[in-house]
Amino acid sequence: MQTLTPKHDRLLIVFLLLGLVILAFILTPLLHMVFGQLISNRSGLIEAVNDSAVIKSILLTMYTALTATAIAFVFGVPLAYFLARRDFPGKGIVESVIDIPIIIPHTVAGIALLTVFGAHGMIGDPLSSIVRFRDALPGVVVAMLFVSVPFLINSAREGFQSVDPRLENVARSLGASSWDAFQRVTVPLSARHILVGSILCWARAMSEFGAVIVIAYYPMIAPTLIYERYISYGLSASSPVAVLLIVICLVVFIVLRMISAGWRRYDRD
């Protein structure tokens, strides 16, 4: 890392200044909320920490989001690999379809999911004797999965695309089956993309509100709880929960980022 001096890097300085604006834009509300909470209403935060409903909802959010990410991983990573390696007519359409959950309003997504996964829906009906989606854990997971899976697929696909197929060919010529080549060469080389995609997927799942409240108001995840606390008791009751969620998420993400940074060994020299 070089230090910036105006003589040789005016462009970077301008970009840095512009970048600081957007960084401030992101940080100001978050810091305002967190520090406002710490300074003016620390007791509220302590209450939130001691409130079993709050902790339960945060843990539930992390757990359901993790489940959604695991499902996204099992079904999304293979799709990402397929898209990275094969061209076929209509590929552009498939890729757009994957992006749709990012684009559509999440309430609409929730309604669409309820229609399909409800007790009379195309999927919910045949499964109704085994699993219930509406107002149940599977419903939360389904809503989270829907809105967050594009992040994992897109990131993994980028990762796979960055691995030269020749490396897989060479591995094959050395006696690796296609599965060996995938797991010994392709996966290690795209691991960081897959991990970052998984983190994004998990993060997006945890933050989902609009789609979840339509299909599964219960069991109540943290974003719904924050909303409910706000409606029933006002900001002073909801913001400690929000701050707690922000802090927990931040810690988890920093740890995950640090882990993924350690995986970059061969990306640089």
Partner: protein, 355 residues
Amino acid sequence: MKKTAILIMIMLCSVIALGCVGTDTDTTTDGSADGGDTPEVHSGTLTVFHAGSLSIPFAKLEEVFEAAHPGIDVQCEAAGSAATIRKVTELHKEADIVASADYSLIPSMMYPEYADWYLQFARNQIVLAYTDKSRYADEINADNWYEILRRDDVRFGFSNPNDDPCGYRSQMTILLAEAHYGDDMIYEDLIEANSAMAMVYDAANGTYTLHMPASESIDPSAKLMVRSMEMELIAGLDAQEIDYYFIYRSVAEQHGQLFLELPVEIDLSSVTYADTYKTVQVVQANGNLVTGKPVVYGITVPKNARDPEMGLEFVKLVVSPEGQQIFVDLGQPPIVPAVGSGEVPEEVRGMVEMG
């Protein structure tokens, strides 16, 4: 290529800049209009926060108002009534109009800092809405609805009593049904058995009080669908996730749903039965106690309104014969004349009856 990119940037910036300048001019003309003979040209935006159940009539009122005041852009924001008021009192958003599905929330939540008057301008009634696909839709009537809701294969919904007046009013209606039909198991069978909501009888006053647990602890069974707002219940009804739900008549009518009118003694529509209604009470999770009373909508111009003058103009439209006709057309009976309370401004006093 590079040139095109720069050109696009410049164009974008100019459009954004023009947009900002545009609104600026709008707001400056507000104050700059001089007294004289020229009629005052009013322009700018008028922000209206209203209860979700007012969405359709207010959209209609917006049209009429904008036609009468060409310079004004009315922006309506719908939310649950409590959320609507909290946007003003907690988030300090500036609204020129606040309209709640329960007029009493205005004095209880906004007085004295954010408002000091309100008008009761429309009524509504609790009905049981359904579709032709709902189970037993062909046999349900005002005498057997609670029997049908009791059946194992029937599911029904209502909005969260902590969030939405329609939610606690639905509870009141179900509770009032016990006395009306002479069946003291209705609330227990329909609600208590399926959730953590509980009823307490106060023998001293002869009143029933319903205790709402915190939203996260309502714990509804598969038979019930509880949602923060009615929008999500409508989705549930469309998906046949529920067969029936309790809702305002106007909403059911505006969404083209079938609905069962309940007896006037329990549907909270009539001032005549106000004494009956007040035998039930709901304590919300936040401790707020609500007593049963007719469904009456309240409207006010908050103290922090940016354009109180135009806000008042809008209120006048709501309580005018033209405005009242809009409510009639949409199945939401207006209160004629509207009833005022508090420091009602001079301009509207003539149009209302002080209560």
